[in-house]
Amino acid sequence: MQKMKRNIFIPLALCILAAACSKKLDRIPTNDVTASEVYSTSLGFTQAMAKVYASFANTGNVGGTGSADIPTQIIADEGNSDFLRLYFNLQELTTDEGAWTWQNDAGIQGLHEMSWSSVNPIVDGLYYRSFFQISLCNDFITHATDAAIAKFGSSADTIRHYRAEARFLRAYQYWVLMDLFGNPPFVTEKDAIGTFIPKQISRADLFKYVESELKAAADSGLAAPRQNLYGRADQAAAWALLARLYLNAHVYTGTDRYSDAITYCNKIIAAGYTLHPDYTELMLADNNLNTDENIFTIVYDGTFIQNYGGTTYLIHGPANIPGSITGCNGSWTGLRLTQQSITLFPDYSGNTDHRAQFWQTGQTLAMTDMYTATAGFSTFKFRNVTRTGAPAPDRDAAGNFSDIDFPLFRLGEIYLIYAESVLRGGTGGDATTAYNYINALGRRAHKDNTLTYITPSQLTTDFILDERGRELYYECSRRTDLIRYNKFTTSSYLWAWKGGVEAGTAVADKYNLFPIPSTDLSSNPNLKQNPGY
C-alpha cells in the first residue's frame, strides 16, 4: 500500500510542477527594454532623443549597414536608405544640378529624365524615412509630458528642450513631405501607435500645422539661438524653416507670405550669425567649427555615426574625383552636374568665384550623355579633410565614412531668402539690406572684401535663382527653388536631359509632386494618389 501511495504522489507532484511552469510564458528580451524602462531615467530620454536625431543621420542601429530602420521591402540596399541621400537624390538629380551615372542603380532611372514612375524606391524610401522619424518624434513627445518628467528635477529642463526639438524635427519632416508629396497622411502624438489608419491632410492644412508647430516649438522649449549643444536644434533652426516655409508659401497655399519670411530672417540675423569667411571651408570634415554660419546641421562622424548615405555619399558620389582630394577611398563615379548649372558661374574655373569647385580633368562640360561618367563636371564641394588639408581625424581605416556635417540651414540661405522676399514685395525688409546681403555672399565667394559683386539694378528675382544655384548647389534646395520659379517642369528653363532629351524639354506638371508610394496606397485606404500617377 505504501508503494501505491508513492506511485500516486509522483504524478501528482509532476502536475503541480507543471502548473508552476505556466508563469514562464512571460518572456522578455535580454537586451531590449520597454518604453517605461527607456523613459524612466533622464539618460533614457537622452538616448531616445539620440535616436530621433540619428534617424536623420544613420540607416539603422549598426554603423555602416545592419539592423536597418527601413525594411528591405521598401529599400533593398540599406546604404541608400538614409535621409540625406534620398533627399539629395530627389532634390538634386531631378534638376540641372545632378545626374547619376549608373542607371542600373535602384531608383535612378527616370529621376533626371523627369519620367519617374509611381514605383520608385528612392521616392518610397524618403517617404518612409520621413515617417519613421515622425513616429519617433511622436513617441518621444507622448512620453515627455510635463507630468512624466517632473521627477527629473534639473534634467527636466533638458527633456523639455528635447520635446521642443522633437516637435521641430517632426515639423521639418512634415515640411519635407509637404514639399515633395503635397498631401501626405498625417499622424501626431495624439494617435496611438498601431491602432489607427492615418487620414490624408491637404497641403494647405499641413502648411498651417507646420507653421504653428514651428512657432510653438520656438516659443516654448527650443533653446535660444546658438545656445544649445552642438548637433541639436535651437530657435534659429525653427525660424530658418519658417523663413523657408513662407518663401514657398505661394506654392503650398496659393498665398504669398514674403513679409513673414523677412520677419524670421531678421530674427536669425539679429541672433548674431555671420558668414563664415571662407566658402571653401563650409563642407569640410571639421565644419562643426563653423558655428558662425551654420544654424542647424546633421552630424556625421567616420567612427561614431557611420552610414553609406549622408555626406559619405557626397564625397564618394561625384564622378572621377581622386580619393586624395575628397578624402576618401575613391570615387563611385556617379554624380555630375549639367553644363547649365556650371555656366551659372561666368567663370567656372574657381579662380575668381571660389564656390565653383568643379572637377574638370577628363570630364566634358556638356552632359552629352546622361549615363556616362565623364559627361559633365563633378564637384568637390564636399571634402573629408580639415581646413589645414589634413585627413579627417575620425575617419575609418577603410576610408569609407565621412566626418562632414551637413548644414540643413545656414546663414547664406537666409540672406538669399531675405533678398528674394524683399524683391517679391515682402515688407519688413529693404532693398539696400538685400543688396548688401547678396554683395556679402559675392565678396566671400571671390575672397575679396571690396568687390562690387553686382549693381543694385542687377538684383532681380531671376538673379536670386541663379545666385542660389551658385551659393547653394548640392545643398538640397534646387528642386524646391525651380518649382517656386515655375521652371521645374516648364520650358522656361531647360537643362541637359530634362525630359529625357539632350537639349531638354518641358514635362507634365504632375512632376511637381512625387507620387504617394503604391505600398502606402494599398495599405491605407484614406489616401488618394497625386494627379497623373
Binding site: 506511485n7 528580451p29 535580454t30 531590449d32 518604453a35 554603423g63 542607371q103 514612375s117 574625383i321 495599405s523
Partner: protein, 1032 residues
C-alpha cells in the same frame, strides 16, 4: 544449449573454423575497435529457461529473412530478431504458448510453441496493417488509425547520397512536397504538407524526433537556425532513421495543437532488441557530383560585339583579351564519402544500439566542404518486472564545414568574360581585379570582384555541434497495469561557431596598404528543453464489445537561443575601431505550455472514434491572446470488418475515415513584439550632442492584438486494399481553412515604428485531393515488381484580407522580392480570390515577330499611364498538382528502381533574364558585366524601370524529374553465412524534363529564396554513387 546465441559468434569461435571470414572480421575489428567493447559486454548473456529455435524464410523463394522480430505473445520485450540466416534462438518462460513473428512489409503472424524447431514462412506484401505506427504521444496499430497518416519505413526510403534525412522521403508521400533548397552539401529542404497553411509566418511542418520536437526556426537577423550550419536536420544521421510518420490532417496532428497547422513529421530512430544477437551493419557510400547545366550568358565573342557596338570609348578600352568561362572556374567535380557503422542487439533486458557515422562531402562550388561525424546511442531497458520501460537516446554530431562564398555564384554569371582569371602580379592574391589608379586601394570602387578570388580567398569555417537526447519513462502501474504514466524529458543543444577569415591581400575586403581583410567570429547556441508527462489508460470491455483508451498530459517546451555579438577584426587580428557591439550577446527565448488529451473508442473493431484536445499557451502572444484551444474529432469505419466483406478476397481492406480539427501556428513571428521594445544602437550608429556621442534607443514595430493563426481541417479518406493487398492505397479529400493569417505586411505609413509588421491579416483555404496506390503486379519466387504512385492536387485561395478593416479596395500585399533594376520590387501578390504568391506583373506587348517590345505594356485600365493599376494577377508560383512515382524490381539477387517526381502548374520568374539580360547590365556600371544570353533575344536596353515587372519573364515551370535510379545486387550470405553483403550503385538527379529555360525549374521557398523567383541558385548537381552494405 546449442551454440547459436550471438554471444559466442564472433567472440568465442576459433578462427580456424571460418578462415575467410576471419580475415575480413579482423580487418573490421581493427577498423572498429569499439566493437570489442560490445563483444565483452555481450558475453555476459546466458539463457536459463526454455529455449526455442527456428528459422524464418520468405514464402516467395525460401530465402532466409533476417531482422524478423520474434516475441513471446504477451511479453513483447523479451523477443529477439532473426539473424542473417533467418534463424533465431529465443529463451522464454516455460509457460509461453505462442510466438509472434513481425517483419516490416511482411505483416505479423502468430504460431503456437510446440517444442520442435519452428520454421516459419512469411509472405511479403501481406500488408503492414498490423504494423505499429508512431503517432503523437503513443503508438497505434495502423489498421486502427482514424486520421490521415502516412508511414514510410526504411525499405521505402530514397536511396543514394542522402545528406539530410528529409530527402529520403521526397516523392514518397501524397500531399508532401520536399524540395531541396540548393545543391550545397547538407542544404535543407522546403517541406510542404498539403500546400502549407500560412502565408509567410511559417509553412514548415513540426518535426519530432523520438518525442523531441525540433526547433528549426531561424532567429531574427540570423542566416540559419544554428550558426554555421546549413540546415538543422542535417545533424541527424539518415542511417539512424527507422521510419517517418507524416501526420497530415488535423485529427491526426491536433494533439500537437500549437504547431501542427502545417502537419507533423515524426521521425523514429532505430533501436536495439531485447535479447537479440549483436548485429553489425556497415555501410559505405561514395559519390561523384557534377554540374549539369550552366546559366546561359554571352560568350566572350558575343560580349565583345555588344560592347564594341554600344559602349563608350572608355568602355571598349576596358575589354580584355582573355576568354574565360567563369562558371567553369567556380565549379568542380565534387567527391564525397559517407561511412556508417551500427551495432545493435540486446543484453537481457537491455536492448542497445550504437551508431557512428562519418561523412565528407565536397560541394560542386569550389572550396565548399562538409564533414560530419555523428554518434548515437539508444538504450531501451525494461525494469521492475517489465513495468518500467526506459527509452534513453543520445545523439550528437559535429560538423566541420567550410562554406564556399556563394557570392561567387552570381559573380561567375556576370563577371566580364574577356578578363583573365589570374594576373602575373602578386597583388590581390594574383587574381585579376578591376583596377582604378585614383582610388586609395587601387581597386575600382563598386566593381564586382574576381569570382574565383571570392571563393579561394574566403575562409568561412565553422564547427557546429548538436546534441539531442531524451529519457522517456513509461511506467505500467503495478496495481493497475492498464494505467500508464509516461514522463519524457529531453534536450536539444546546439553550438554553432565559426570564423570568416579573409586574408588582407584579398580584393574582397582590401584596405589601402594591405591592412584589411577580416577575421570575424560568429557563434550562436541553442538550449531547448522539453518536459512532458501524461497518463494513459486503456481498457477492453468485452461485454459491450468495446475498447477504449484515454490519455491526458502536460507539455513544456522552452526554446532558448544565445546569439553572440563580436567586434570586427582585420586579418591581422587588430580590431576594427569602434566596432564593439552594444551587447555581447542576445538571448531570444520563447516558451510553449500545453495541456492535451486524447480518447479513442473502438466498437466491435469496426467503428473507431478519436477525440483530441490541446490547450496551448505561447509566450509570443500578449496575455489576453496567449491561450487557445485546439480540438479535433475523427471517426473511422472498418468496412472490411463488416459481414458482407468478410468472405471476399477481392477486397482485402477497406476503411472510411472522417476527421475534423483545429490546429495553430505561431512560428516565424517575433518572440516579443506584441509590445514595443526599444533596441540600443551600436556605438558606431550613435549621435552627437555637444562633445558626447549617445547610442540611441529605437522602438521596434509591434502588433499588440496578435492572435493565433488557426487552421481548421476537414478530411475524408478511404484506405483500400484489393487482391490480398497486392493493390493498396488511400484517397483523401481535404479542406483546410486558415483564419487570422499571420503575415509580414506593410503598415500605413506613420502608424507604427516599422513599415512592415507581422499581423493577423485574413483567411485562406487549401482544398485538395490526395491519391496513392501501391501495386505489386508480379509476385513470384524469383521476381517481384512494386509500383508506387501518388498524386496531390492542392488549390490555395486567399479568401479575406483585413490589413485595413472593411477596405474593399484593398488590392493585397506584395511578395516575391526580385533582384535588380530599381530594387525593392515584388513580382508577386497575395490578394483576395487568388492563390498565395500569384505573379503580379505587367502584360508584355510583342511585335509582329513575337519579340517583346521594351517598356510597352498593356494599359489595363486605359488611362494612358502604366502604373501599378495595370499590373494583373497572373499564375501562381506554387504547383497545383504534384506527383511521385516509385518502382522497384527484385529479381533473384538483383534489384533496381527509380523515383520520379513531377510538378504541374508551377510558374517561375526568371530573375536572371530580367536582371542581367539587358544592355545596361553590360554597360550601366563602373565596370563591364556579362549579360544573360536572353539579351540576344530581347535586345532590351534596361532603361525602363518597369521592365522587370514584365510577364515576359514568367513561364510554366512544370517538370518531371528523376530523383534517382539505383541498381543493387545482394550477394546474400557470404563467408559461410556469417555476413550479408549488398552493393548498390546509381545516379541522383538523373534528368529533368521541363519547358522552363532557366537553370532549374524547381525553386524552393527556403532561406534566401522566394517562391517562384529564380535567381542564382546553388545548382543541384548530378551525383553518381556506389554503395556497399555489410551486415554481420
Amino acid at each position: 544449449m546449442p551454440d547459436r546465441t550471438n554471444a559466442g559468434r564472433l567472440g568465442s569461435l576459433p578462427c580456424t573454423q571460418f578462415k575467410t571470414t576471419c580475415i575480413m572480421q579482423t580487418r573490421l575489428l581493427v577498423r572498429i575497435p569499439i566493437l570489442l567493447l560490445f563483444l565483452s559486454l555481450t558475453s555476459v548473456l546466458s539463457a536459463q529457461k526454455r529455449t526455442i529455435t527456428g528459422k524464418v524464410t520468405d514464402t516467395k523463394d525460401g530465402s532466409p529473412l533476417p531482422g524478423v522480430s520474434v516475441q513471446p505473445k504477451g511479453n513483447p520485450r523479451s523477443g529477439v530478431v532473426t539473424g542473417s540466416d533467418g534463424s533465431f534462438s529465443l529463451s522464454v518462460d516455460a509457460n509461453t504458448k505462442i510466438l509472434v513473428f513481425t517483419f516490416v512489409g511482411y505483416g505479423t503472424i502468430e504460431r503456437p510453441v510446440t517444442g520442435a524447431p519452428m520454421d516459419i514462412a512469411l509472405t511479403a506484401g501481406s500488408s503492414g496493417l498490423n504494423e505499429i505506427v508512431v503517432i503523437g504521444y503513443g503508438t497505434a496499430r495502423k489498421k486502427d488509425l482514424t486520421g490521415s497518416i502516412a508511414t514510410i519505413s526504411e525499405k521505402e526510403f530514397q536511396k543514394g547520397v542522402i545528406t539530410t534525412p528529409e530527402q529520403m522521403i521526397a516523392g514518397k508521400v501524397a500531399g508532401v512536397s520536399i524540395i531541396s533548397n540548393s545543391g550545397q552539401p547538407g542544404a535543407g529542404s522546403t517541406i510542404r504538407i498539403r500546400g502549407g497553411s500560412s502565408l509567410n509566418a511559417s509553412n514548415d511542418p513540426l518535426i519530432v524526433i523520438d518525442g523531441v520536437p525540433l526547433d528549426n526556426e531561424i532567429p531574427l537577423g540570423q542566416k540559419s537556425a544554428i550558426a554555421g550550419a546549413s540546415n538543422p536536420l542535417s545533424f541527424i544521421n539518415p542511417n539512424d532513421i527507422e521510419s517517418f510518420t507524416v501526420l497530415k490532417d488535423a485529427s491526426a496532428a491536433a494533439i500537437y495543437g500549437t504547431r501542427a497547422a502545417n502537419g507533423v513529421i515524426l521521425i523514429t530512430t532505430k533501436k536495439g532488441h531485447s535479447g537479440g544477437e549483436l548485429k553489425v551493419n556497415f555501410a559505405s557510400n561514395n559519390t561523384v557530383s557534377n554540374l549539369i547545366k550552366q546559366v546561359a550568358v554571352l560568350s566572350p565573342a558575343q560580349f565583345r560585339t555588344v560592347v564594341n557596338a554600344n559602349g563608350t570609348a572608355a568602355q571598349k578600352a576596358m575589354l580584355g583579351g582573355a576568354n574565360t568561362n567563369w562558371q567553369d572556374q567556380v565549379y568542380r567535380t565534387g567527391l564525397g564519402t559517407t561511412d556508417n557503422i551500427s551495432l545493435s542487439g540486446g543484453i537481457k533486458n537491455l536492448p542497445y544500439r550504437l551508431s557512428l557515422g562519418y561523412q565528407n562531402q565536397n560541394g560542386i562550388l569550389k572550396t565548399d566542404n562538409l564533414q560530419k561525424t555523428s554518434a548515437s546511442l539508444t538504450l531501451n531497458p525494461w525494469l521492475f518486472d517489465n513495468h518500467l520501460k526506459v527509452d534513453l537516446k543520445l545523439q550528437g554530431s559535429i560538423e566541420n564545414a567550410r562554406f564556399g562564398n556563394q557570392a561567387a555564384i552570381g559573380g561567375a554569371v556576370s563577371f566580364d568574360p574577356t578578363q583573365p582569371v589570374y594576373t602575373k602580379s602578386p597583388r590581390f592574391g594574383g587574381y585579376y581585379e578591376w583596377l582604378d589608379p585614383t582610388s586609395a586601394t587601387g581597386l575600382t570602387n563598386l566593381a564586382g570582384r574576381n569570382p574565383l578570388g571570392l571563393l579561394e580567398e574566403h575562409y568561412d569555417k565553422s564547427t557546429p555541434k548538436r546534441g539531442i537526447g531524451n529519457l522517456q519513462l513509461d511506467y505500467k502501474f503495478h496495481f493497475l497495469p492498464d494505467l500508464h504514466a509516461n514522463l519524457n524529458t529531453g534536450f536539444d543543444l546546439a553550438d554553432g561557431k565559426g570564423t570568416t577569415f579573409i586574408p588582407d591581400s584579398a580584393a574582397e575586403s582590401y584596405l589601402a596598404g594591405g591592412t584589411g581583410g577580416s577575421n570575424n567570429k560568429y557563434r550562436s547556441t541553442k538550449t531547448n528543453t522539453l518536459f512532458e508527462f501524461y497518463l494513459s489508460y486503456n481498457k477492453d470491455l468485452k461485454a459491450i464489445k468495446s475498447h477504449f483508451d484515454v490519455l491526458g498530459g502536460y507539455s513544456y517546451n522552452n526554446y532558448l537561443t544565445k546569439i553572440y555579438n563580436y567586434a570586427n577584426y582585420y586579418a591581422s587580428g587588430k580590431m576594427v575601431p569602434n566596432s564593439q557591439p552594444a551587447f555581447a550577446f542576445d538571448k531570444p527565448e520563447h516558451t510553449l505550455i500545453s495541456w492535451f488529451g486524447r480518447a479513442n473508442y473502438n466498437f466491435e473493431d469496426k467503428y473507431l472514434l478519436t477525440g483530441t484536445i490541446r490547450y496551448d499557451g505561447s509566450s509570443r502572444f500578449a496575455p489576453q491572446n496567449r491561450w487557445a484551444l485546439f480540438p479535433s474529432v475523427a471517426f473511422a469505419w472498418k468496412i472490411k470488418s463488416e459481414q458482407f466483406l468478410q468472405n471476399t478476397d477481392v477486397v482485402s481492406d477497406l476503411k472510411l475515415r472522417l476527421g475534423y480539427g483545429l490546429t495553430g501556428q505561431q512560428d516565424g513571428i517575433g518572440n516579443y513584439d506584441y509590445l514595443s521594445y526599444y533596441a540600443l544602437s551600436d556605438s558606431n550608429a550613435a549621435y552627437q550632442f555637444g562633445n558626447n556621442y549617445y547610442q540611441g534607443y529605437r522602438p521596434g514595430g509591434f502588433y499588440a492584438n496578435r492572435k493565433w493563426e488557426q487552421t481548421a481541417t476537414s478530411n475524408i479518406g478511404i484506405d483500400y486494399g484489393f487482391l490480398d493487398n497486392r493493390i493498396t492505397g488511400a484517397i483523401d479529400v481535404y479542406y483546410k481553412k486558415t483564419t487570422n493569417l499571420l503575415n509580414n505586411v506593410p503598415q500605413p505609413a506613420g502608424s507604427n515604428f516599422s513599415a512592415y509588421i507581422v499581423a493577423n491579416v485574413g483567411d485562406m483555404n487549401n482544398k485538395g485531393v490526395e491519391f496513392s496506390i501501391n501495386l505489386q503486379p508480379i509476385r513470384t519466387r524469383d521476381l517481384t515488381w512494386d509500383l508506387g504512385f501518388n498524386v496531390t492536387y492542392n488549390k490555395n485561395t486567399i479568401t479575406n484580407l483585413t490589413v485595413v478593416p472593411n477596405d474593399t479596395s484593398y488590392v493585397g500585399f506584395p511578395s516575391g522580392t526580385i533582384a535588380g533594376g530599381i530594387g525593392g520590387q515584388f513580382a508577386e501578390i497575395n490578394a483576395v480570390d487568388g492563390s498565395k504568391n500569384t505573379f503580379y506583373l505587367y502584360r508584355q506587348v510583342y511585335d509582329v515577330k513575337g519579340n517583346p517590345i521594351e517598356g510597352v505594356f498593356q494599359d489595363k485600365n486605359g488611362d494612358g499611364i502604366i502604373n501599378q493599376k495595370d499590373l494583373y494577377k497572373s499564375k501562381p508560383a506554387d504547383p497545383k498538382t504534384f506527383m511521385g512515382f516509385t518502382t522497384n524490381v527484385n529479381y533473384r539477387h538483383w534489384n533496381a528502381g527509380f523515383v520520379l517526381r513531377a510538378s504541374l502548374g508551377n510558374y517561375a520568374y526568371n530573375n536572371n533574364w530580367s536582371q542581367t539580360g539587358t544592355l545596361n547590365q553590360v554597360l550601366g556600371s563602373p565596370v563591364l558585366y556579362n549579360a544573360s544570353s536572353n539579351y540576344l533575344v530581347t535586345h532590351f536596353k534596361g532603361s525602363n524601370a518597369q521592365d522587370l515587372l514584365s510577364d515576359y519573364y514568367i513561364s510554366n515551370a512544370s517538370f518531371l524529374r528523376m530523383d534517382n535510379a539505383t541498381v543493387g545486387y545482394n550477394f546474400g550470405a557470404i563467408s559461410h553465412s556469417r555476413a550479408n553483403l549488398r552493393v548498390n550503385a546509381g545516379v541522383q538527379n538523373v534528368f529533368v524534363i521541363t519547358k522552363y529555360k532557366g537553370l532549374d525549374p524547381e525553386i524552393a521557398a527556403g532561406t534566401g529564396n522566394t517562391p517562384g523567383i529564380d535567381n542564382n541558385l546553388y545548382p543541384r548537381p548530378r551525383t553518381y554513387f556506389l554503395g556497399l552494405n555489410l551486415d554481420f
